[in-house]
């Protein structure tokens, strides 16, 4: 194997770009691997091709990406797009796939900036054609200008619902309804956290601005919705739900759902990093220190892949991880790192003040997490229902990995990414244990699809093109 690279950064979103620009700027030999064809991550998808009208339509958060991408592109970091990372070892060895060629490379230090995924929540009818994730729909709008032409219902929980409705409204899409599934009682808990959130008040004013614009346009935002169902024979025909004690139905061909973001922990799990349950965000996250260092020496994780903090926080966390990499690789000393880190640490702290408020406001009820109806599919790859998962628990398979062994739930091509959290929640509830105590699906590489032919040609070396 060739000499290892000093620093490999996985992901070219806000965190990865910031870490790369910072480390490369301090003389670190930096390689950035990204699955997408262009830098920016999901948040700034397609920004390189976006004209002024598109930028204007998507709003100021998106526009901020132009500058971020430019400074990354001008850094000396070696940027390799269209690259899938399909394995990561605790020793800094990575399996990568580029243009159909698999190889192993090694790094003295790795920064994982792989971002988040939309929290999958199975609900009745969620697998019908016509139902898709709101974040995925937003990416289609950013990257390919694709929007639903007939009406759309947006449902779930989280700030994205309002933002997407606002963007769609400006793009001329008929938004039939926005359904917020967080319980009304969340308002009280969130209220307690409002004073702290006011110190990151620009998020609140922007959110209120979107809401006001939606109201002016006559777009209905309904709170305290429950019992969401997608209804249809071969594809989505209607959405039914309860609000204010009444059952309602809306005819629609498009339901976009979003239940918040959770860190994508496949890479950190594969590398053997320690994870912990984050009750505020209702998900597992890799354990990290103030510099993003994981429990595995030489592997750091920053951005939404470490904990959901949004794009601005990801930039600051990325800069800090870049500085720490430069220190660990002996390009700067600790004092220099600390001096250069002052502003980012402060800005990061300030930016995160909005989070406890948002987390309380959008906290999902247990009915959505573990109360999945017995006949609802949990694993769409292997077609396993919540009832089958519970039956496996009753048969003595009292942890998610045993349930996986016996039912094949999570053994399909998505490798349990979609059903893993739901299974953990359902198993925990069925065993009457807190979900924080169950062991989620163990990750089995390859983390991205690799064919037998590609693996058979596996090469070892760092001489990437």
């Amino acid at each position: 194997m060739n000499a290892p690279r000093e620093l490999v950064i996985i992901g070219a979103g806000p965190a990865g770009m910031a870490a790369a620009s910072t480390a490369a700027g301090l003389g670190v030999d930096t390689l950035v691997l990204d699955q997408q064809p262009a830098p920016g991550g999901q948040i700034f998808r397609g920004i390189g091709q976006a004209g002024p009208a598109h930028l204007e339509l998507l709003g100021s958060d998106y526009q901020a990406g132009t500058e971020r991408v430019a400074s990354f592109v001008h850094s000396s970091a070696d940027y390799q797009p269209d690259t899938a990372v399909w394995s990561l070892g605790a020793d800094g060895e990575l399996g990568i796939l580029q243009r159909g060629e698999a190889r192993m490379i090694s790094a003295r230090r790795v920064v994982i900036a792989g971002g988040a995924m939309e929290r999958p929540i199975p609900f009745p009818g969620w697998t019908l054609p016509g139902v898709m994730n709101a974040g995925g729909a937003q990416v289609l709008m950013k990257s390919s200008r694709l929007v639903p032409l007939d009406g759309v219902v947006i449902a779930g929980s989280g700030p994205l619902l309002i933002l997407l409705a606002w963007q769609y409204m400006r793009a001329g899409v008929a938004v039939q309804a926005v359904l917020e599934l967080a319980p009304r009682k969340n308002l009280w808990r969130a209220g307690l956290r409002l004073p702290a959130a006011l110190r990151a008040g620009h998020y609140l004013t922007r959110g209120l601005g979107y809401l006001l614009a939606l109201r002016r346009a006559g777009i209905r935002v309904t709170y305290g919705v429950s019992d969401l169902k997608a209804v249809g024979n071969d594809r989505l025909e209607a959405v039914t739900f309860r609000t204010g004690g009444r059952e309602q139905s809306l005819e629609t061909g498009n339901l976009l759902v979003h239940f918040g973001l959770v860190p994508g922990i496949q890479l950190t799990e594969a590398a053997g990093c320690r994870h912990q349950w984050n009750d505020g965000q209702q998900c597992w996250r890799p354990q990290t220190d103030a510099w993003g260092n994981s429990s595995v020496d030489g592997i750091a994780v920053v951005g939404d892949g470490a904990a959901i903090g949004g794009a601005v926080a990801a930039v600051h966390a990325g800069c800090l991880a870049g500085l720490e990499a430069a220190r660990a690789l002996e390009h700067i000393d600790a004092a220099e790192r600390d001096r250069l880190a002052v502003n980012d640490r402060q800005w990061l702290q300030n930016d995160l003040r909005i989070r406890p408020f948002l987390e309380s406001l959008h906290r999902l009820p247990e009915t959505l997490l573990s109360g999945t109806a017995d006949d609802t599919l949990v694993c769409r790859c292997e077609e396993i229902t919540a009832g089958e998962v519970r039956a496996a628990v009753r048969a003595g398979h009292r942890d998610p990995n045993q349930v996986k062994f016996i039912t094949r739930c999570g053994m399909g091509p998505c490798q349990g990414r979609q059903c893993g959290q739901a299974v953990a929640n359902i198993v925990a509830a069925a065993c009457d244990r807190p979900v924080s105590e169950v062991v989620p699906f163990r990750v089995r590489p390859p983390l991205r699809p690799v064919s037998i032919g590609e693996l058979s040609m596996l090469e070892s070396g760092n001489n990437t093109a």
Binding site: S87, G89, A90, G95, M104, G272, A395, G396, H397, R398, D399, Q402, F405, I406, R408, M411, G412, P413, Q415, R444, P445, P446, P449, V450, S451, I452, G453, L455, S456, M457, L458, S460
Partner: protein
């Protein structure tokens, strides 16, 4: 005394022993440090194979094959057994000569299950095989099953006969207490006059506690499975001069093993796939079945298993103390033997002897190799 027999290890061997003992009225407790089948028993390749076994294992493998054929009557489940044969292909004339010698050797021992098939018979059996092969050694009534399902069936049947499983109970200490063995775990103690060691990759620790002079090595054979493919293969395919086991499961996925070993860490009890080594299995798969080249690998994994110095299992009474019995060190080919190993242990424990020739599997064969005898 809490039971007649306490078994350490709730994997296939321990569960099979528990079942056979319970069928003969013994009260059995199984101590399992994790959950049953967490390691080798749950994640092995599931091959049911008499083909190409060490001569000493042939009588046991043949006896086990009879049990697998009617596994439903033993454990009330078919364990997803599919007896579609196993072939060991010859890719050239030199391979073929080796296989012919092997077939003659097995016939000389009085067994007829391993037969030579010619090129034409081979391609009728395995039509998608790459065209360069010349023949094969074939066992018609071999096949495969799903290990975790088999283990679960053994466990459920054993439990239905009164066997108690204590999961999450890691053994820290074993000690004589009068006539009994006291087994101390992090979740309390149990005692019984008979102690059975079926603790797989953790057998060394128990052997050390018992003063048994044996060195058990750990290994973690790697496996991979593809997405579902249209049906193209019935028998399990191996090759005379490759480390390969290749089979298409009932659901269309292709399971590829080859005894290449993963890295592992016994402290965290985890494995890490060595993809450079695993790529050899992929290369063999593509060379023998070119049409699977574009199939995606969905998962790779490895299970921690015990290997003895001679790669033959230990199935025997203890060498140091009475009331101790061992079944471990199956060296990555124990799945086939599991139903018969439980039966043998139950005979050894209850009758004091087994009908099957288990001399070669005595733990005493290691006595000469180590300077220290029994503690």
């Amino acid at each position: 005394m809490n039971a007649d027999v306490v078994i350490v290890g709730g994997g296939l061997m321990g569960s099979s022993a528990a079942l056979h003992l319970a069928m003969r009225g013994q009260r059995v407790i199984v101590m399992e440090k994790d959950s049953p089948g967490r390691h080798a028993s749950g994640v092995n390749a599931g091959g049911l194979r008499q083909l190409n076994r060490h001569p000493a294992e042939i009588p046991l493998a043949a006896a086990a094959a009879r049990l697998w054929r009617d596994i439903q009557s033993l454990v009330d489940s078919d364990c997803d057994v599919k007896l579609s044969g196993q072939v060991r292909v010859a890719e050239n004339e030199a391979d073929m000569r080796l296989l012919e010698e092997r077939a003659a050797q097995v016939r000389a021992l009085g067994y007829e299950h391993e037969i030579i098939i010619d090129r034409e018979q081979l391609y009728r059996l395995v039509p998608r095989l790459a065209p360069h092969c010349v023949g094969a050694l074939y066992t018609r009534d071999d096949g495969f099953a799903r290990p975790f399902h088999a283990l679960t069936a053994f466990r459920h049947k054993a439990e239905s006969l009164g066997v108690q499983y204590r999961t999450g109970s890691r053994v820290h200490e074993v000690a004589r207490q009068g006539e009994d063995w006291q087994v101390v775990t992090d979740r309390g103690c149990v005692s019984a006059p008979v102690l059975v060691n079926c603790s797989g990759a953790w057998s060394q620790a128990l052997c050390s506690m018992l003063g048994e002079p044996v060195t058990v090595n750990t290994g973690a054979p790697m496996m991979m499975v593809t997405e579902r493919l249209p049906h193209f293969l019935d028998p399990v395919v191996g090759a005379a001069s490759r480390k390969l086991s290749f089979k298409q499961m009932q659901n269309g996925t292709v399971l590829i093993g080859g005894a290449h070993l993963a890295n592992y860490d016994m402290k965290s009890e985890t494995t890490a796939i060595d993809f450079i080594k695993l790529s050899e299995s992929a290369r063999s798969a593509v060379e023998l079945f070119p049409h699977v080249r574009d199939a995606h690998i969905v998962r790779t994994w490895a299970g921690l298993e015990a290997f003895t110095p001679d790669h033959l299992p230990v199935i025997s009474p203890g060498s140091c103390a009475t009331g101790v019995f061992h079944a471990f060190g199956f060296s990555a080919h124990g799945f086939q033997l599991s139903p018969i190993v439980g039966l043998i242990l139950s005979e050894l424990i209850i009758d004091g002897k087994s009908e099957l020739p288990i001399g070669p599997f005595s733990i005493k064969r290691f006595l000469d190799e180590t300077a220290t005898g029994c503690a």
